[in-house]
Symmetry: C2
Subunit: 174 residues, 2 copies
DNA sequence: GCTGAACTATCTATCGAAAGGTAGATCCGG
DNA sequence: CCGGATCTACCTTTCGATAGATAGTTCAGC
């Protein structure tokens, strides 16, 4: 992957984290990376292609990060809670898939499909890590919701308040 | 409130539920209600005014609905879980405040403030109903997240899977 | 009870800006 | 010289918003 393509994906990711699909334009991305909007089209034919690729990349990275941490800590809930905590306290504050998922009905089909894949990946991985299907559904909802609530209240520490139960040491987090 | 103003709010609410702030235009709203886009400006000077009013109305309605149901059922979690379940299984599938909250950073200030007010109202009311602050934060995150995940997976029954623990009878839901 | 000002709600028409996207030229490294 | 990458220039559409006109309604004062 070329440097410029990566730079475009980085810029798009940031803007999507802030405003979702309708919250960014090719011109803004172009200015962010220092090229012209038409050149962005060279790398990504249409807006939905760029957006779908941002989601795919985020999904792959998340999957990898979780696998890596789970190898070090056998408690899946603590691993996931910590991973999303990093997002909540990052500059962007939000996970792009969550922002897009909230307005999934208004997304181009390929983008909506990619977003769906992300959430399925999360649930499947949780089950593979030993959680029951219902437990995974509830837990995923809690950490995703914590991200949204903290973002809306403009206070990242809200994420911690909502997930204290999962960030404790060995015995407590079940 | 005039019929037309209400019709405009209804149309805007639907569109916001689907696509958030960037997901609707005055022209679409105008077509939905059968007037011209400039006439929408007569009722709401700017897009942020219309959006803020949609959020305010949703917030007031939710507050009223919860009070009414809590008077009949003393279990706050069951009351809230049931209320949001209605949204998850509605045609629109989403709570407009949740959609907007996910992209809160990209919202005009008055709108972001109104969205923030909604989530604070939820937490405050939960505490007033007897929940601890941390418990309220976690529970609110779970039901909001369940809405997002169910929407992204395009399957409303995901909401039930994530909230079964709170929809049971008297003794079980604590 | 009539008149006329003021208000409500909508229209047509239009603005400048910005959107997504395309075509064709240019530049640069292999 | 060829091909990937970027540019300039442009197109069409849509955006939020404004101006000015037009009916219909309300209502105070004579």
């Amino acid at each position: 992957m070329s440097d410029m393509k990566t730079a475009i994906l980085d810029a798009a990711e940031k803007r999507i984290q802030a405003g979702g699909f309708g919250g960014f334009s090719f011109r803004e991305i172009a200015e962010d990376v220092g090229i012209k909007s038409s050149s962005v089209h060279y790398h990504f034919p249409a807006k939905e292609d760029l957006t779908a690729e941002v989601v795919r990349r985020w999904s792959d990275r998340t999957s990898g990060n979780i696998d890596r941490e789970f190898a070090k800590d056998p408690n899946p809930k603590r691993v996931w809670a910590k991973a999303l905590r990093g997002t909540a306290f990052s500059k962007a504050h939000m996970c792009p898939c969550t922002v897009l998922g909230a307005s999934s009905q208004d997304l181009p089909k390929p983008v909506a499909a990619e977003v769906k894949r992300f959430f399925k990946m999360c649930q499947d991985k949780m089950v593979a890590q030993g959680m029951s299907a219902d437990d995974a559904a509830e837990f995923l909802s809690t950490i995703i919701g914590a991200l949204v609530v903290a973002n809306a209240l403009r206070d990242s520490t809200e994420y911690d308040r909502a997930t204290t139960a999962f960030q404790l040491d060995e015995k407590s987090a079940a």
